[in-house]
C-alpha cells in the first residue's frame, strides 16, 4: 500500500520549501516543518516532506540501510518520481539516521569549481536538537550560533569541518527531527566545543 503524499500539493510543498530555504539561509536555526502527508516507517514525516519538496526524476536518492525498505522506496518513486540508487557517490540526496552508518561525506558528490551546485545533500533524521556540540558562524549568522544534534558524535563534526574546508565545493546537510528542520550548509564555519 502506498502512503498518501501532500494532500494540498501546491500549498504544502510551498510551505515546506519555505521552511527548508529558511533553514539553509540561517544555519543552525531550528525551524518548524509540519505537513499533512503520511510517511512510511521509519521515514519521519519531516524528512519525507524534504524528499517530496526537493526531489524529482533528476535527483537520484540513496537510502541508508536502516531506512531502506520496500515501502520507503516505493513511496519516493511514486511521489517524488525519484530513482533510488545503491551507489552513494551517484546520489543527489542521501537519507540517513543519526547514530547509524552512512558514507563519509568526502565520498559523496562534491560538485565542481565550475558547477558547485552539482553536489549531494545529506538529510539526517535525528531525535532532536540541543545546543552544546558546536558553535556555528559564517554567512546567514549574525555573530555566532550555538548548535547541537542528539546522537551525533565528534567524528561527524570533524568530517563537517573538513567539508567546510573544501568550500565552495562540498555537501550540504539538512537535519530532520519530528516536526522540525535545521541545516548546515558547506559555507558554515564550525567550532567544536570541548565537552563533545
Amino acid at each position: 500500500m502506498t502512503e498518501r503524499g501532500f494532500l494540498d500539493v501546491a500549498m504544502q510543498s510551498a510551505h515546506a520549501f519555505r521552511a527548508i530555504m529558511q533553514a539553509v539561509a540561517r544555519p543552525g536555526r531550528v525551524l518548524e516543518l509540519g505537513s499533512d502527508l503520511e510517511a512510511p516507517d521509519p521515514l519521519l514525516s519531516s524528512a519525507a516532506a524534504v524528499a517530496l519538496t526537493l526531489c524529482d526524476f533528476q535527483t537520484p536518492i540513496w537510502l541508508a540501510p536502516e531506512l531502506r525498505n520496500e515501502n520507503v522506496i516505493h513511496y519516493l518513486r511514486f511521489h517524488a518520481g525519484a530513482p533510488v540508487t545503491d551507489e552513494p557517490g551517484k546520489a543527489q540526496f542521501l537519507f540517513a539516521m543519526a547514530g547509524e552508518t552512512w558514507p563519509a561525506p568526502a565520498l559523496l558528490m562534491q560538485g565542481t569549481h565550475e558547477y558547485p551546485d552539482r553536489s549531494a545533500t545529506l538529510v539526517i533524521q535525528v531525535a532532536g536538537f540541543a545546543p552544546g556540540d558546536v558553535v556555528l558562524s559564517g554567512p546567514g549568522i549574525l555573530s555566532s550560533e550555538p548548535f547541537g544534534v542528539a546522537g551525533l558524535n565528534t567524528s561527524f563534526w570533524a568530517a563537517m569541518v573538513e567539508n567546510h574546508a573544501r568550500f565552495p565545493i562540498g555537501i550540504d546537510v539538512i537535519f530532520a527531527a519530528p516536526g522540525l528542520v535545521a541545516a548546515l550548509p558547506r559555507a558554515t564555519e564550525i567550532r567544536l566545543l570541548e565537552s563533545v
Binding site: 500500500m1 502506498t2 498518501r4 503524499g5 500539493v9 511514486f78 511521489h79
Partner: protein, 137 residues
Amino acid sequence: MRVLSLSDWRDLESYAKEVAGTPHDLLRAPETGLVMLRGRMGATGAAFNLGEATVTRCAVRLVDGTEGHAYVMGRNAAHARLAALCDALLQGKDSGTAVSEMVIAPLEAKLQAAHVETSTKAAATKVDFFTMVRGDD
C-alpha cells in the same frame, strides 16, 4: 491504459458513466506537468530531445486498497482521474470484466474505426502510376 489514454474524453466520459461514481481516494490528485518527447537521428539512430508535451497524471485507491494509475497527454484532470479509476477497477476480477466490456471494448472499437477512416482516406490519395505508351508502332 493505452486505450484509456488514447480515447477522446467525451467517449470515455460517456462509456464510463456507470463506474465514475465508484468510491475512491486520491492517492495523488490530478497534476499537470511535462514530458520531454524524443526522436531518433535518422529515424533509427541515437535519441535526441524533440520538445515537450503536457501530461496529466492521477493515482487513486479503491476502498479495498487497489491502486490505479493514469498518465494522459493534455491537461484534462477529469480524464486522468477517470482513467486511473478504470485502471484500478480493471485489476479486480468482477469489476475488471465489467470495465473491459463496458468501457474498454467500445472505446477500442471507436479508435479502430477512426484509424480505418484515416487510413482509407489517405489510401485514396495513393498515386497509381501508369506509363504513356509511345513509339512509332
